[in-house]
């Protein structure tokens, strides 16, 4: 393939297969259950038609993919600094992406792509536009050069040709790579939340699909529910809890390995090149000035292992409910040592923040949580205790809940801190995972301050700093100090001409 992107060009010819592969995958995914049901229920004679139909479907997909391939062209308009994509068989689409709006370019390789030997290139744009742009089949060298062009815009005009570019790609020495041993530790110590969600999702899917198949055979008489109920009565709760924790840890470790196997970060001109993944290799090129919030966090176990999690948040497309989007704009680096953390912070932030003034919240911080999370539930329990004799034996649980919630609230209060110096704003928070969020004042989009009337006399107030990657809250601070800080930040934002991305 040529490496002059200024003329319209097609994808690598292997793209036909890739596109057909994806389309077939989608069709299969959508129709698998009806297919199975049909195959089971239909008579022998009809099965022939069934397979003929499936064959026609595959053929149509191939033809469609071929036209799709023909109609998909892309080029780089150097003068206007735009990347232009033409696509669509029936509906023609012309996509124009100004280079300055591109915030991240990913080069990925799925299993199918690995077999054929091509890569996909995916362009993430900032702000509102949720049009996701991707080129499904492109060879490695072109992918990297195009990526460089897209991210550096004008600066890349004088980039050397392919011959000079390639050796550089190969000789990059990663300044951070994570070993399997570290990944094991990461798997044991973090991200429980998402694994729990996964487990619940999996259990639900299992339950649902088993029922679906049984229904297909007209034999669903509630066996699944009965089996579960029986399982609960046989297995003691304690055994179940241990089993769940065990499964959870296993899932966590597997997930960590799949996602972060062979995790490497290297410096690539002005950007960071992050590559990771066991089954599918994911390469992300990230320019440090597009990072909005830099966070590192550590829990008790991680502190014992002397490691931290780091996450780099970029501008999201303004749709916080989309977890896929959140994941895309949120890059995390699991299990780095304090020295490596400092190294990355230095790359992203310019230097390591020090000498900051710390602001602590007023003790009123704990009032509402104590009332709503500790006193109210226990109060309800006491109410029940007085009226329903059956709940009486559970009082140790209520006491334990009360004590634990008070301790958690106390820690959340102790760890709620805001650190400020001329260059940075750092927010510390967390109960179990203690995190430090770093932002530059010039990444602030808007500031909100508020105060409740009953806090006027005690000079307590709150401030929210809105950034393109989320809000930083500081609650129950001294309102006079907050107002001074806000004036200072406004001065910093409004007097500098630094761009937020």
């Amino acid at each position: 393939m040529e490496n002059d992107f200024s003329k319209p060009q097609r994808q690598s010819a292997a793209g036909i297969i890739i596109m057909a592969g994806y389309s077939i995958q989608q069709v299969v995914r959508a129709l698998i259950i009806p297919f199975i049901v049909f195959a089971v229920k239909a008579e022998r004679a009809h099965l022939l038609y069934f397979f003929a139909g499936a064959g026609v479907l595959v053929l149509l997909t191939l033809i469609y993919s071929y036209f799709n391939y023909l109609k998909f062209t892309f080029f780089l308009d150097d003068k206007k600094q735009e990347f232009i994509i033409n696509k669509g068989v029936f509906n023609k689409t012309l996509l124009t992406i100004p280079l300055e709006k591109i915030q991240q370019v990913n080069i990925n390789q799925s299993l199918l792509q690995k077999i054929i030997g091509v890569y996909s290139l995916q362009i993430d744009t900032a702000g509102g536009a949720d049009k996701e742009v991707s080129i499904k089949a492109i060879n490695e060298a072109s992918a990297y050069i195009l990526k460089e062009h897209l991210l550096n815009g004008k600066k890349a005009e004088g980039t050397p040709s392919l011959d000079e570019e390639l050796p550089k790609l190969n000789t990059e020495i990663p300044f951070l790579s994570i070993s399997p041993a570290t990944l094991l530790k990461v798997g044991l110590t973090s991200n429980y939340g998402s694994s729990v969600a996964l487990l619940i999702g999996f259990a639900y899917a299992l339950f649902h699909n088993t029922k679906e198949i049984l229904r297909a055979f007209d034999t669903d008489n509630g066996q699944v529910e009965a089996a579960i109920e029986k399982g609960f009565t046989i297995a003691s709760i304690g055994f179940l809890v241990i089993a769940v924790i065990f499964i959870l840890l296993i899932i966590n470790i597997i997930r960590t390995f799949v996602k972060y196997y062979d995790f490497k970060i290297s410096k690539h001109k002005h950007s960071l090149l992050i590559s990771t993944g066991l089954l599918t290799k994911k390469n992300t090129l990230l320019s440090p000035n597009k990072v909005q919030i830099t966070t590192y966090s550590q829990n008790y176990f991680q502190r014992k292992f002397n490691m931290l999690n780091l996450s780099l948040k970029q501008a999201d497309s303004g749709n916080p409910k989309d977890p896929k989007d959140l994941e895309k704009s949120n890059l995390s680096i699991p299990g780095c040592s304090p020295a490596e953390k400092d190294e990355i912070l230095k790359m992203i932030l310019g230097n390591i923040p020090n000498h900051a003034k710390t602001f602590a919240p007023n003790f009123r911080f704990i009032n509402l949580p104590i009332i709503f999370s500790a006193i109210l539930p226990v109060g309800i329990y006491i109410g029940l205790w007085l009226n329903i004799p059956e709940v009486k034996p559970f009082y140790p649980l209520a006491i334990a809940y009360f004590v634990i919630s008070i301790i958690m609230i106390y820690f959340s209060y102790k760890r709620h801190r805001l650190m400020v110096n001329q260059e940075f704003i750092i927010k510390k928070s967390g109960i179990w995972d203690v995190s430090f969020e770093h932002i530059f004042p010039h990444k602030i989009q808007a500031i909100t301050t508020f105060q409740y009337p009953w806090h006027k006399n005690v000079d307590v107030g709150h401030v929210n700093l809105h950034t393109a990657a989320g809000v930083i809250h500081f609650k129950y601070g001294s309102y006079t100090e907050i107002k001074n800080l806000v004036n200072y930040w406004l001065y910093q934002v409004e007097s500098s001409d630094e761009d937020w991305m």
């Binding site: 809000v471 806000v486 001065y491």
Partner: protein, 177 residues
């Protein structure tokens, strides 16, 4: 720490957002609120009344219901009136300030060169009073936006023009550099 305490002296002399004199929304906007609220209350009241006559079960005294409804309406109007009184906005050279909120007195400040776009919204009731809502959007998500209701259309247009122009100006400046 040394460096920061140096800055604190400067802090005292910085322009203070909390001392800016705010412009209240046009008093006529109160009429708009009253009309909108009345329409909603009438609809809700009508719906409840039909429901009341359709359901055949034992009925409580309709007078009590009416009293409750009126009390609720009065409360709603009071809350809106009080919150209306709290609203104010100001356009500074480099940012825009909007204060609102009955219980939590909230002040939002958006630096002008962080504005993504500005919209002018005229509802039916507002338009008949010559008023408009100015909506200012940032990249900071839902909570970082400002909606200032009850500005005279002419004035709103001027503010919008001023904001947009300064946006252009800033962009040109950075483009030239």
């Amino acid at each position: 720490m040394q460096e920061f305490t140096n800055e604190t002296i400067d802090l005292e002399n910085l322009p203070k957002y909390q001392d800016v004199v705010l412009t209240a929304p046009n008093p006529k906007y109160w009429n708009v609120i009253v009309i909108n609220l009345s329409i909603i209350l009438l609809l809700v009241g009508g719906g409840l009344a039909t429901l009341f006559y359709l359901v055949d079960d034992e009925k409580p005294n309709p007078l009590y219901l009416l009293a409750g409804y009126l009390l609720f309406s009065a409360l709603l109007f009071t809350i809106h009136r009080l919150s209306f009184k709290k609203r104010g906005y100001a356009l500074r050279e480099k940012d825009i300030i909007y204060k609102h909120g009955l219980i939590a007195e909230t002040t939002t400040i958006i630096p002008i060169h962080r504005i993504q776009h500005v919209a002018l919204d005229e509802g039916i009731t507002s338009r008949s009073y010559g008023l408009a809502t100015l909506q200012i959007f940032t990249a900071g998500g839902q909570t970082g936006h400002i909606h200032i209701a009850g500005i005279e259309v002419e004035k709103a247009k001027i503010i919008k023009e001023a904001l947009v122009k300064r946006l252009d100006l800033l962009e040109n400046l950075t483009a030239e550099q």
